[in-house]
């Protein structure tokens, strides 16, 4: 467990140092009216660095509780988590290219297969129904302009 904490601590410390540097040299620290836009970020960086350093010292020199029994999910758990992460990342990328309707369909279909353990046909029916329902509610009832496809021939079809 200590290694993970230390790795997290080092990353946060590096981030704090970047914030300090950027707010001191990249943005005005002071202006003629008083504190500049870099004033508060600089001090946030200083405090973040100080607290992270104190935490790093604490976890390095004090006994740290052992690895929690469920720290690592089992293979099935890892697969489920990874599939959700990948599906969401792909969704956020393809949403602008294919449009909302054409992206939500495979998103739901894959998740229903993996998480919902549905067979192909029910998964397909459910994903089409829910995808269409969400589009209808948000686009027509709530006036949310859900993204259309970047391809003209698809966006002309309202997809």
């Amino acid at each position: 467990m200590r290694r993970y904490y230390q790795a997290a601590g080092v990353i946060i410390l590096a981030f704090a140092l970047y914030v300090m540097y950027e707010s001191r040299f990249g943005i005005d620290y002071r202006t003629e009216y008083g504190p500049g836009p870099g004033y508060l970020p600089f001090w946030c960086g200083v405090f973040l660095a100080a607290f992270t350093l104190a935490w790093l010292i604490q976890i390095t020199f004090r006994p740290v509780e052992g690895l929690a029994a469920n720290f690592y999910p089992d293979r099935g758990g890892r697969m489920r988590i990874l599939s959700v992460m990948v599906a969401m990342i792909l969704f956020s990328i393809f949403m602008t290219i294919l449009g909302f309707q054409l992206t939500i369909l495979p998103f739901l279909f894959c998740l229903l297969l993996i998480l919902g353990r549905q067979k192909i046909l029910p998964a397909l029916v459910l994903s089409v129904a829910v995808g269409w329902g969400l589009t209808y509610i948000f686009r027509n009832l709530l006036d949310v302009p859900l993204p259309l496809s970047a391809f003209d021939f698809l966006s002309n079809l309202g997809l």
Binding site: F51, P63, E65, P73, M88, L108
Partner: protein, 497 residues
């Protein structure tokens, strides 16, 4: 007298047909949020914020407030019938609530929980009516230095109470502050930490952060273990006996007091009120050995405490503009999105809104009582849907919710990123609530600091030379010191064991 007059005005606002409908919608959605796994009140509220763009501000805020207290009751249903807490605040109700269900008294447990929630919620609103106006009047007298120190004090209490390790809370809190500084500087309009991206000029969207940090990460944590439909215990008669009612009165009263006062403290989770109420009931009971075997006092106390807590936690937000919990931060962002700044000025500038929302709390609690008991069979049916399927739909709604707050696909990417970051931070046992509290308060903090330093021509000692500001800062330091001492002694105790 003025308070009564304002309250009557509030009721005239809250009792309008459309506002009643918004309260009803909020209660139903809130109960649903409480019932569904992997979606907490903060995420549930954040998901509906985009909807409020199309509503009048009073209606929107009434609906969002109803989600919070509705979710407290929804969590009880899964706890009692499935032995799975829908919300953290319902965990302790499992001890006796589910035991009662196994004995065929689940209906009575749910009825007492509903009555207790109504009792605690309503009394807590009375407290809100009594305390909020004088507190707001007092807060109006604070200048920028005092306000800065007050926010610092609120943040210190919030971070101190948020987790087991004060250092981890402080680290997460400051990370939240830095995140809120991304974008155009509110005072001078200079871009900060934008890396030249126009998407970042407006900063990170609060709703995306809430859904990511709380919603997506919760689902990822839940998915670590196989998800399957829970089996509900059968539900019989909903009417509690006269004996049940008599035995529940004392715990409900004590639960209200506990929930009300703990709800005022920033960072104090609702679950703490429930746990303390349960512990108190066990302590004062003549038969403490019966707790955990299906005793009505073990349901009445905690369930009353969590709703009293939910309502009283609105006091710091209404009067001082300081959210006491993540869901309050979400609610506060809804105010800001609607062009309203929570705080003492709200009572002066928008009395109809403030008193309308306060009156709606009374009405909402009554709606919950009337609505929930007949709807229990419906919620049980919802829970029969396999969780794997529910999660797919919840994730789809989250994605659309993240997008629709700003109609931006960039916000969806931000939400996914924060979801993964939140999952990692939760695995490393970092509390996430401080990040939301600081994220929402930092713009106010920065403005107060700027105004203070302009007042003093750049002299930071203005924060120490004004007595009220100095008192707030001393209190903040004392609180941090006490929490550090408590954490240190806990570590020592652990290592000695």
């Amino acid at each position: 007298m003025e308070t009564i007059h304002n309250l009557i005005m509030g009721f005239s606002v809250a009792l309008s047909p459309e506002n009643l409908m918004y309260a009803l919608l909020g209660c139903v959605w809130g109960t649903m949020v409480g019932v569904l796994p992997g979606i907490g009140p903060a995420t549930g509220t954040a998901l509906l914020i985009p909807l409020t763009y199309h509503l009048p501000p009073v209606g929107g805020i009434i609906m969002l407030s109803a989600i919070f207290y509705g979710s407290q009751y929804g969590g009880t249903i899964t706890t009692v019938l499935l032995n799975v807490p829908g919300e953290a605040s319902s965990v302790i109700t499992m001890m006796d609530g589910h035991q009662m269900a196994k004995q065929g008294r689940g209906g009575a447990a749910l009825s007492i929980a509903a009555l207790g929630s109504f009792f605690g919620g309503t009394l807590s609103v009375v407290g809100l009516v009594l305390f909020a106006p004088p507190l707001a009047t007092l807060a109006l007298k604070l200048g920028p230095p005092e306000f800065f120190s007050l926010i610092v004090l609120g943040l210190c209490v919030g971070m101190g109470l948020a987790g087991k390790s004060i250092l981890k809370s402080l680290i997460v809190g400051i990370l939240g502050m830095i995140l809120s500084l991304v974008g155009l500087d509110a005072v001078q309009g200079v871009p900060r930490f934008t890396f030249g991206s126009s998407d970042l000029l407006d900063g990170f969207e609060f709703i995306s952060i809430v859904i990511g940090l709380f919603g997506i990460s919760d689902i990822l944590i839940t998915l670590e273990t196989p998800v399957q439909a829970a089996v509900a215990t059968s539900l019989k008669g909903l009417i509690p006996t006269r004996q049940d009612l008599k035995r529940s009165f004392g715990p409900a009263l004590r639960g209200t007091v506990i929930g009300f006062f703990l709800g005022l403290l920033p960072g104090m989770g609702v679950a703490v009120s429930s746990f303390i109420s349960y512990a108190v009931e066990k302590r004062v009971s003549k038969h403490p050995e019966k707790f955990g075997t299906g005793i009505i006092e073990g349901v009445a106390g905690p369930e009353t405490a969590n709703n009293a807590h939910a309502n009283s936690s609105m006091i710091p937000m209404f009067t001082l503009g300081i959210p006491s919990a993540p869901v309050m931060a979400v609610l506060m962002s809804a105010f800001i999105i609607n062009g309203l700044q929570p705080g003492p000025q709200l009572f002066v500038e928008n009395p109809e809104l403030v008193w309308g929302v306060i009156a709606s709390l009374y009405i909402g609690n009554a709606i919950l009582l009337v609505l929930n008991l007949p709807l229990i069979p419906l919620w049980v049916q919802v829970l029969r849907i396999p969780w794997g399927i529910l999660f797919c739909f919840i994730l789809a709604v989250m994605v659309v919710g993240g997008y629709s707050s700003n109609n931006s696909t960039f916000d969806v990417r931000v939400m996914v990123g924060f979801g993964i970051a939140g999952y990692i931070l939760k695995k490393l046992d970092f509390p996430l609530a401080p990040a939301l509290l600081t994220f929402i308060l930092t713009p106010m903090l920065e403005k107060s600091l700027f105004r203070s330093l302009v007042m003093s021509q750049g002299d930071i000692t203005i924060l120490l030379t004004r007595p009220i500001s100095l008192i707030f800062l001393i209190l903040a330091i004392v609180i941090l010191f006490v929490f550090t001492l408590r954490a240190t002694s806990a570590v020592k105790g652990d290592s000695e064991v």
